[in-house]
């Protein structure tokens, strides 16, 4: 019977192995963005869509600034890098769109509508009845040293209104000038040339990162001395982050594997327990990987990293089985398995329950971790139960006495009546520490602190921003209106409120569609204003002073106005406006106003007040709020998984003993954050998720202790000690991670598992034997 089951399991494992080999052969797709591990926003789908569009446009941007003391060499280097970037087939260079006739085309687009287009300064002057100042400004431009306007332009627009409108446009990258076909600037003797591009593929795909940054690094290395290349783009940050995660995964993985191997070798002084344990974990990981790839199609690097650590718990079961050899009664493998079967089955069941509650958290990455770990654990359990007794040829060891004595000594601390007072005192102290710690507990949900961005790239980003100005922030206003005209009018109201905020330093600038294309109402109003304030005597005077042969042709103020559709057309000089123009549903217009260096979000949010359909969207802020929200939900998950485990334990032990079994893991869960708080750590969503796992692992230890009796007690305790050591090595080491989120997770696991182990014998306090 058991042999048939073992063979069936072999078939399943072989199938999983075959599928995995097939997938590996085709190349694995790993995702690396932290955001994918985290929740999708549970909010207004319109905001979600706007958010996605703005975020995608930002994340696809690639900016390089090539600088050198010699203009020609900087330009040659820029050409070479541009060639390399284009050759990857992944980047569409957008700076080449700043061709020499772009300004002319912009002029051609605006010129027919010029009477409706006024710079804010000119509009203000006309509204104040100061048409004379506008005339003076135009004359100074014509007769001044700078600013001889185009002769044909002056003839048709003697007040140079259009030139004023033009100069006030918040054109992107306007700190740079076009120097012989390249956007350049000069900063203290260094010529900087900008290369801007749009990534045509996913910046978070490892493969894309490799294919883009590999050739780029090589090209930069061959540029020669004296040249500097600054980079900005999500793809660079993502690659640095992925590399860090990879190197951490391998170094933490190697350290924890080596530690576990050493522990097993030293404890058993035999190879069999080692290779049996490795077989259990190997089958677990392999089956889990295969099943996850089959179910999800791809796997997040973070899910892999967490998941492999979680399956490490499976070593507990093989250790429970293997340690039975120390019982010294020379029982055959089958009988040794039977003695631990109840313990490891209950342990697997409770742990799987714990992991599966992760499924209730709506985070795609956590689903992957949950599925990966649950499948892996069940596979590991099946391997222990079905294969280990068949493969095990171990002989009873002769060296176990010392370890068993130590385990017995540890148990005695909990069970010997002589230490009763000390136990009560220690528990009292622990509860006191817990109470003080819990009082000092503070939450931190700021997502920006959770990601560790490469310091070198952050410095480059800051230098680029100080050289070419803001490169766009993540916050924006979303304008939702029944049609484009209404949306533009609301933007105009918003802009009027934003202008003074720029002066106050609440933000450094903004880009709104209405700045490029005023609403039809505003254009008509401007026409009327120009007619009332400038046409007539002032125009005659201006024509005379300029010495024009004839006044400009009478304007047709009733004609069509400039529309958004005409201005933002593809291939046109303002095609970049399409980024601010989202596809609304029928009967709805969606506009985005992007913000530069938004420093005072409170004032910006106030600016939107009272404007229907206008909202400030702060993705990072929303995300932090959401993390806080989910931190609370994780605590609910924790309570829920405890509640789900309880009936299982009550069925096995009865209510009273079941409660005693729940006590050690519950205390570990309560005390771990308290101890972390005393050490100054903030409580984050990731600490909360760690507690879910502390509960699962803690229940395992408690169940192992509860299941054992008589002479087997020291053996069980020894196995639990070894299990705790391996868990500390796999999770505790995560506390060394540079990624703050992972560090929080690891540190809480470290403290929690230590507590769960130390308190585990309490589970036996519920009196008598079960059997």
């Amino acid at each position: 019977m058991i042999r048939i089951a073992a063979v069936l399991w072999l078939v399943v494992v072989a199938l999983a192995g075959g599928y995995l080999a097939l997938r590996l052969h085709h190349g694995l797709a790993f995702r690396t963005d932290l955001m994918a591990l985290l929740p999708r926003e549970q909010q207004d789908p319109t905001i979600q869509r706007a958010n996605d569009t703005v975020t995608r446009a930002l994340s696809q941007r690639v900016l390089l600034l090539v600088g050198g003391p010699d203009r020609a060499r900087a330009r040659d280097a820029a050409s070479e890098l541009m060639r390399q970037l284009t050759a990857t087939g992944l980047v569409e260079i957008t700076t080449s769109g700043f061709d020499k006739d772009r300004l002319q085309r912009l002029g051609a687009l605006y010129f027919p509508y010029r009477r409706g287009l006024l710079a804010e300064d000119d509009r203000r002057r006309l509204l104040d009845g100061k048409g004379g100042e506008v005339a003076l400004r135009a004359l100074s431009q014509v007769f001044g040293f700078v600013g001889m306007a185009d002769a044909r332009l002056v003839q048709r627009d003697p007040f140079l209104l259009m030139q004023g409108f033009f100069a006030a446009l918040p054109l992107p990258l306007s700190k740079l000038t076009l120097d012989d076909g390249m956007l350049s600037m000069n900063d203290g003797g260094t010529t900087w040339v900008l290369i801007a591009g749009r990534l045509t593929d996913e910046p978070y795909a490892l493969d894309v990162q490799r294919r883009l940054i590999g050739p780029l690094d090589e090209a930069v290395a061959h540029l020669g001395p004296g040249l500097e290349v600054l980079r900005l783009g999500a793809v660079f940050f993502a690659k640095a982050g992925a590399e860090q995660a990879m190197s951490e995964t391998s170094s933490i993985g190697v350290a924890s594997t080596l530690g576990t191997v050493l522990l097993v070798l030293v404890a058993f002084r035999a190879l069999a327990p080692l290779w049996l344990s490795l077989l259990v974990i190997g089958v677990g990981v392999m089956t889990a990987l295969s099943a996850s790839l089959w179910a999800f199609g791809e796997l997040h690097v973070g899910a892999l990293m967490f998941g492999v650590s979680l399956i490490g718990v499976a070593v507990d079961y093989s250790l429970q089985y293997c340690s039975e050899i120390f019982a010294g009664d020379d029982a055959p493998p089958r009988r040794r398995l039977r003695r631990v079967l109840m313990g490891i089955t209950l342990g697997t069941a409770t742990t799987v329950i714990g992991y599966l509650t992760l499924f209730l958290a709506p985070f795609p990455g956590l689903h992957q971790i949950a599925a990966f770990s649950a499948v892996g654990l069940v596979a590991a359990w099946l391997t222990v139960v079905l294969w280990l007794p068949l493969l095990d040829r171990s002989k009873p060891p002769r060296h176990g006495a010392g370890m068993l004595a130590a385990a017995a000594g540890f148990l005695a601390l909990w069970e010997n009546p002589r230490h009763h007072r000390a136990r009560v005192a220690v528990l009292g102290l622990a509860l006191g520490i817990g109470a003080v710690g819990l009082l000092r507990l503070h939450a931190d949900d700021d997502v920006r602190r959770m990601q560790s961005l490469s310091a070198g790239l952050v410095a480059q980003q800051q230098r680029i921003q100080s050289l070419i100005g803001s490169t766009g922030g993540t916050q924006f206003f979303l304008i939702q209106a029944p049609d484009d005209e209404t949306a533009l009018q609301r933007e105009e109201q918003l802009i009027a409120r934003l202008r003074p905020l720029v002066g106050q330093g609440a933000l450094s600038g903004f880009q709104a569609l209405a700045q490029y294309v005023p609403s039809a109402a505003r254009q008509r109003e401007n026409r009327a204003l120009v007619h009332a304030q400038l046409d007539g005597a002032l125009l005659e005077q201006q024509v005379r002073q300029l010495g024009l042969t004839q006044p400009p042709a009478a304007a047709d103020d009733g004609g069509p106005v400039l529309t958004l559709a005409e201005a933002s057309g593809a291939g046109g000089p303002l095609s970049f406006l399409s980024m601010l123009l989202l596809d609304g549903t029928a009967g709805e217009a969606l506009h985005v106003v992007t913000l530069d260096h938004a420093a005072r979000l409170d004032l910006l949010a106030q600016a939107a007040e009272g404007l229907p359909g206008v909202r400030l969207v702060d993705p990072a802020g929303d995300f932090s709020a959401l993390l806080g929200n989910y931190r609370n939900r994780a605590m609910l998950l924790l309570a829920l998984s405890a509640a789900l485990m309880a009936p299982l334990l009550a069925w096995r032990y009865g209510v009273k003993r079941g409660l005693w079994v729940m006590l050690p893991p519950s205390l570990a869960v309560a005390l771990a954050p308290a101890v972390r708080a005393l050490a100054g750590g903030a409580f984050t969503f990731f600490d909360a998720m760690a507690l879910v796992l502390v509960l699962s692992v803690g229940v395992d230890y408690a169940v192992f202790c509860a299941e054992t009796s008589g002479a087997r007690k020291p053996v069980t305790m020894l196995a639990v000690a070894m299990a705790a050591c391996t868990a500390l090595m796999s999770f505790g080491l995560l506390a060394l991670s540079d990624v703050l989120a992972v560090r929080h997770f690891g540190a809480t696991m470290l403290v929690g598992i230590l507590l769960a182990f130390l308190l585990a014998p309490l589970a036996r306090s519920g009196a008598g034997s079960v059997r």
Binding site: K100, L103, S140, G144, G147, K175, L546, L548
Partner: protein, 203 residues
């Protein structure tokens, strides 16, 4: 942009031409002052747009270009960039960081003053005729296909001790003529007012 380059060239043309032709060169610490008459011949205008005023050129410091008729506009250009004022209020400010061309212009200027022609040679073919008493320098652009990078079809400067006239023909056929009158070289320091004007750009 194109207008600005034109203006900048106008500003340095006297100096460039001076180094190309005039017998009198200016040393750092000396100041050249004079009057100018600028005529712009533009299609569609009755008469050329005529501007008159005074200028102050201080090598190593910058240029003050003060138009007086028909309209008072003051423009100051230094290595930091350019500022234009009307009646005490600033109407334009252009930092040099935004203008690679301006930075190159200063290279040319520095080179020309030191008798080094290579800087000017990269953008123009320089032809010099006449003698020290009546000389003429013709500048022909080497690359004329991009009107933004090179707005001129030809630049001609004439003079004797100093530059006396500069004529510039733009790609579209419009032209500018500059006459410099009553020029005098002084080794006295800049006046307080002139220093203040040049310092506005340091802000």
């Amino acid at each position: 942009m194109r207008r600005l380059i034109l203006a900048l060239l106008l500003a340095v043309a006297p100096v460039m031409a001076m180094a190309a032709g005039p017998t009198q060169s200016i040393a750092v610490g000396e100041v050249l002052r004079g009057r100018f008459v600028q005529e712009r011949h533009l299609k569609g205008f009755n008469a050329p747009l005529r501007t008159e005023g005074h200028f102050v050129l201080a090598p190593g410091r910058g240029l003050i270009w003060r138009a007086e008729k028909p309209f008072a506009v003051t423009t100051v250009i230094t290595a930091n960039g350019l500022v234009q004022e009307v009646g005490g209020s600033e109407t334009m400010r252009m930092p040099a960081a935004r203008l690679p061309f301006l930075a190159r212009l200063y290279d040319m200027l520095g080179g020309a003053l030191a008798g080094d022609w290579r800087a000017l040679d990269t953008d123009f073919i320089v032809t010099r005729t006449g003698d020290d008493r009546h000389w003429q320098v013709d500048l022909t652009p080497r690359k004329a296909d991009d009107p933004i990078a090179m707005p001129f079809r030809a630049i001609t400067a004439q003079g004797s001790r100093f530059v006396e006239t500069v004529a510039m023909v733009k790609q579209d056929g419009d032209s500018d003529t500059l006459s410099f009158l009553d020029q005098a070289l002084s080794s006295a320091p800049l006046t307080a007012e002139e220093t203040a004007a040049l310092d506005t750009l340091a802000k």
